[in-house]
Amino acid sequence: MILAAVLAAIIVTMGLALVRAGKGPTVFDRILALNMFGTKTVLLIAVIGFITGRPDFLDLGLVYALINFIGVIAVLRFSKYGDFADPDREKAS
């Protein structure tokens, strides 16, 4: 019962994050929406794993969390430098 409520809450939050990613208006709203959506996916995997009685998919959730983290760092670098280049090396050349 509690797990079902959590599942519903996660789905609603996913929808809200989706709306925020679509509406914007600033680039940081969208990045945060993407990051939050990744986190919600991890939670969704965990909850579904416990609802179906197979928590072995938790490993997958951990991988998603790592991918999400690296992806957000890459996106933030891009939005700051407009490029993925190392700023120090760019200055030196």
């Binding site: 990613a21 679509g22 680039v27 891009f78 490029d83």
Partner: protein, 182 residues
């Protein structure tokens, strides 16, 4: 549950289509990938879900952003209404839907997919490979060379894309980024 995720997937796809700011579209594509990965996990395909998350949400997002750095951040408005492409897409989609009518039901034990690679793999995996997941055992060991070939292909493609992106950056200095064009 599956229907909910699919509804969110459709909403994301429509949002991507209607988006003119390309940065926002890339973000939404990342969300689309996460949703797709969650859906595949629900269908009991954790290996496909893992690949979808790594490639779709991770590498594709970064590649698309790198492309945006080289080109522009805003899509051009289509010049004329596109009736013919819509018709082609609709007909293709209808044909694909028609094709799924012949498919066995999801999880059908009589389906060819459940019977064709010998069911004895399921029994032998634990003894042969010593890991609990049969799909991983087939991919990583029984068909190890096949998987190695696939990995080589993907690795080569990745190197080629990196070389292309780097090469064009040397010729043209990077444009200033920072503010969202949407």
């Amino acid at each position: 549950m599956t229907a909910l995720l699919l509804t969110l997937l459709c909403a994301t796809a429509v949002a991507v289509l209607r988006m003119r700011g390309l940065f926002a579209a890339v973000m939404l594509m990342g969300i689309f990938s996460f949703l797709g990965a969650g859906w595949m996990l629900l269908l009991d395909a954790p290996d496909v879900a893992l690949t979808e998350a790594a490639v779709g949400a991770g590498i594709s997002t970064i590649l698309a952003l790198a492309t945006l750095a080289l080109t522009t951040r805003k899509a051009k408005r289509p010049v004329r209404p596109s009736a013919l492409p819509l018709a082609v897409v609709t007909i293709t989609g209808a044909a694909l839907l028609y094709g799924t009518l012949d498919m066995p039901r999801f999880g059908d034990p009589e389906a060819p997919a459940s019977n064709y690679p010998q069911p004895s793999y399921v029994e032998r995996t634990d003894h042969d490979i010593h890991i609990p997941n049969v799909v991983t055992a087939v991919l990583g060991s029984y068909r190890g060379y096949d998987t190695l070939g696939e990995t080589v292909v993907i690795f080569t493609a990745g190197i080629a894309v990196l070389v292309l992106l780097r090469g064009s950056r040397k010729r043209r200095p990077a444009a200033d980024g920072g503010e969202d064009a949407a």
